[in-house]
Amino acid sequence: MKVSVPLENKSLESPVCQSFGRTPLFALVDTESCAVEYLDNSAAASQGGAGIKAAQMIVDSSAKVVITYRLGQNAADVLNAANIEVYKAQDGTVIENIEKWKEGKLSLLDDIHPGFHNYGGM
């Protein structure tokens, strides 16, 4: 199963990025084969609708799970439409979060914010 997590550096020891839509990179980890891919997030440079564009990319990457600190409403709508599960990230590195997810220690992200709609977000 592919799990996607936003991060700022090409290393699973990096912390999870605070932003979803404007993260510079996403890690795409195949939990069965342990293969790791890093996706450039072109949405980060968008004037607006970054969350939507990033979510579209995640959907296209065949990820089934996303681990993130925050998500705007529009991006959430995109991920929900694709039946992707979203979990709330905790303090720690990307690899630590993935391990916690495997152990069932992460909870689903339920506080979706209204979104920054073109207004940027940090």
Partner: protein
């Protein structure tokens, strides 16, 4: 592996309506609180730099918003399709009106001879001042530009992170739209500077709604409160009813105008009534910010 979770506590100062004294309060808070990291997110009309003695040249960076259409006149065959199809009426006689163009790219695809291209357009400039341990981030949007939200985000992003618990003060912009919403994102607290007038109350309510819409804790202080005690009490009653703390009242004080005009913070006039009131408010805010949410 060090956990780089930000320990910055961000305080945003907003007013809804312009002219309530937001920037004056912000600069007072910076001086009184010994704040070393601050930003001016009023990118349309930045004023904070006028109250802070800044030395040296800042690092400057162009800010690119939406692209703008550029027509290559030598390729143009005068079919008029671009003008007909521009939803913003930004093309007239094969000339693009820069201030009307919203960078949608329709003209680029509709032109039968590929005479139009979307080019980068610097719609503003970011500036970062660093001196004596202080960091000040600001920007100026060029006249007529829209979509300032992304520039506001860029201003906030310029502020370096910290491992220590530290307060960052952000001077916001008036209104409830795009730049204000961008500035609210990710802050720990919003302080609303309200003025006791009908317009002031009306706009304060809208800005409280906006802050609540984005689930951000807020507090109110009433500036120039003695212009109308009646309205001041109305504000305090309303805030109590909806659960927003009112943390102080600042009197109207001519010393403030003098201070601003001399490029000084009001705290250089410590005996003034306003400075005393501001001092109390500053202490309350520091306590709340540094105590709450220690992780």
């Amino acid at each position: 592996m060090k956990n780089k979770f930000s320990r910055l506590k961000k305080l945003l100062i907003l007013s809804g309506k312009g002219g309530t004294g937001k920037t004056t309060v912000t600069s007072a808070f910076i001086s009184l609180g010994g704040i070393q990291k601050y930003a001016d997110c009023d990118v349309d009309a930045p004023n904070l730099h006028l109250t802070i003695p800044l030395s040296g040249e800042p690092e400057r960076k162009n800010y690119y918003g939406f692209g703008k259409a550029v027509i290559n006149k030598t390729k143009c065959v005068h079919c008029g399709l671009c003008e007909q199809n521009c939803a913003f009426c930004a093309i007239k006689n094969e000339t693009v009106e820069i201030f009307e163009c919203e960078g949608c790219g329709v003209c680029e695809v509709i032109c039968p001879v590929k005479a139009i291209s979307m080019e980068d357009y610097a719609s503003g400039e970011l500036m970062l001042y660093k001196s004596e341990g202080h960091v000040f981030s600001t920007a100026q949007l060029k006249m007529g530009s829209g979509a300032s939200g992304k520039l506001v985000t860029a201003v906030k992003k310029q502020i370096p992170d910290s491992d220590n618990s530290e307060i960052v003060v952000i001077d916001g912009s008036p209104g409830i739209g795009c730049p204000v919403i961008a500035s609210i994102s990710g802050v720990d607290m919003v302080l609303i500077v309200a003025e006791p007038t009908i317009s002031g109350i009306h706009d304060m309510k809208r800005i409280i709604d906006t802050a609540k819409h984005f689930s951000t804790p807020c507090a109110v202080c009433v500036n120039k409160f003695d212009v109308s005690i009646d309205n001041t009490e109305k504000i305090e009653k309303y805030c109590t009813e909806i659960g927003v703390p009112v943390i102080g009242r600042i009197p109207f004080d001519k010393e403030v105008v003098k201070a601003v005009n001399h490029c000084e913070s009001i705290v250089n006039y410590p005996e003034s009534k306003a400075a005393k009131a501001l001092s109390e408010i500053c202490n309350k805010l520091k306590k709340t910010l540094l105590q709450g949410g220690e992780s």
